[in-house]
Amino acid sequence: MNYINDLNTFNSIFREYQSRFLRFAQSYVHDAAVAEDVVMESFMYFWENRQQLPSSVNIPAYILITVKHKCLNYLQHLDVRATVSEELKEHAEWRLTTQITNLEACEPHELFSTEVQALVEVTLASLPTRTAQIFRMSRYESKSHKDIASELDLSTKAVEFHITKATRTLRIVLKDYLIILFFIYFIK
């Protein structure tokens, strides 16, 4: 009976988080096939080790941590190919190092805390219809500004305006979050 419960839980977690983790992995490894493998392996790793985990574990954060480590492992073993010019190779190496540094600094427990997620999602839900639609096409469907413009019969300038509006709103909400946090921290 426990096995069936586990399986149901696993399935709903998989459905809920698979595409999010795919987006995350892809943004670091920049290779769709690798991202797919990493995410699948991470879910399987959780499934195979689920009995060893404390009952209070935050499952999505745990899987995300695995995703992070597998991506790091991949990036750290990546060899920058010798390109025609030394300058291009050096640039590619700088690029890879920047990715690795960003990924190492990433803290799944922070990023994925209910508070941060709630704020982001409430903000996204508050966007005007058009802005929300364009933002989704850009960030979550990975469409280029040009493609979005032609699909919605708008100018690229208009598309950029909406996207900037969305990111600016997010920064405003989270910036005030920072000020309130600071206040609470002082009270403590």
């Binding site: 999010r20 995350f24 640039h91 805390s113 997620q117 966007l127 946090l181």
Partner: protein, 310 residues
């Protein structure tokens, strides 16, 4: 620099020219690096969000005003109880540089940590600590054996993490042994007070008083009082033993010299041994001294680091 340009960089859709611009911008000021890192975090948080909420934005009745969103933000904040989100935006997320020191087999060293704590490190020991202790705890990582003389600082508990158990102290002198390739875990307190706990279960903690030793046996931590400090004279560079069995002495040598000793000779086991050696004299010298009083032979394996006692 238009911050939205960074998005292309994160996504991997930027051109080399755009990347070079970003690189130049980053290298021109550390403030820009901070902005870059914050934008990356925002980008990551967005990627991980449930994008289905964007669909609910389709109905105008559900649409919220920005002011309302901020009020929601305040409510969410006031209900949190000291969680990660607080650190998330408060601290600059530059990773703290760590210093790692490894002591080779047969040697020992003495170092001072950034807070003035003095540490003796025994052979085959690795210690890892931050270059400066930031606010909060003073946490270091240990694999091996060390003797600590911790600088007292009640506001900042000093925590030693090992693979098996963690030890938290306030201002004390104590010895910890926890080599990752051995099942032994021992902590002995000379002065002050320490608390031991497993990283998996903070609630079960053990408090040690001076002259007490905690050791792992059969998966549980036991406490003994001790009065004989000869085994801690390694900080003077000595390997000491008192009324020890032959196998115990060999186990000590294995610990110091990164070598495996296989005792085939049965007669040596019946006696107890007392004595001391200088670590730096090496294992063969020690064995030869022992041979003066006990009859046994030893030979080194040609390929592996193994010594056979026959």
């Amino acid at each position: 620099m238009d911050i939205d340009n960074l998005y292309g960089f994160f996504q991997g859709t930027s051109t080399i020219e755009e990347e070079k611009e970003i690189r130049a911008w980053l290298e021109s000021s550390p403030d820009n690096v901070r902005v870059f890192n914050k934008e990356r975090k925002l980008f990551d948080a967005l990627l991980l969000a449930d994008d289905r909420v964007l669909d609910s934005a389709a109905t105008p009745t559900f649409r919220l005003q920005l002011g309302t969103v901020l009020r929601y933000a305040a409510v969410i904040l006031l209900t949190l109880s000291g969680s990660f989100a607080l650190q998330y935006y408060l601290q600059e997320s530059e990773p703290i540089a760590m210093q790692t020191i490894t002591v080779p087999a047969g040697q020992r060293i003495n170092i001072d940590l950034p807070d003035g704590t003095n540490v003796w490190l025994n052979a085959r020991t690795t210690i890892q600590y931050p270059i400066t202790f930031a606010k909060g705890n003073r946490t270091i990582h240990l694999d091996g054996e060390a003797f600590f003389d911790v600088k007292k600082d009640e506001k900042h508990p000093f925590i030693v993490q090992t693979k098996k158990y963690h030890v938290e102290v306030l201002g004390t002198k104590f010895n910890i042994e926890s080599y990752s390739d051995s099942e032994v875990f021992e902590t002995t307190l000379m002065q002050g007070k320490v608390s031991l706990f497993s990283p998996l279960n903070r609630n079960n903690e053990i408090i040690l008083r001076p002259n007490q030793k905690a050791y792992l046996h059969d998966g549980k931590l036991n406490i003994d009082s001790i009065s004989d400090y000869t085994q801690y004279r390694w900080i003077e560079g000595l390997i000491c033993f008192k009324n020890s069995e032959f196998n115990e002495v060999m186990k000590d040598f294995e610990k110091y010299y990164e070598i495996k000793i296989i005792v085939k000779n049965k007669k040596v086991r019946q006696y107890k041994y007392t004595g001391k050696f200088r670590q730096t004299d090496g294992v063969e010298y020690a064995l030869r001294v022992l041979q003066k009083n006990i009859s046994f032979n030893f030979r080194r394996d040609l390929n592996e680091p193994v010594i056979y006692i026959e």
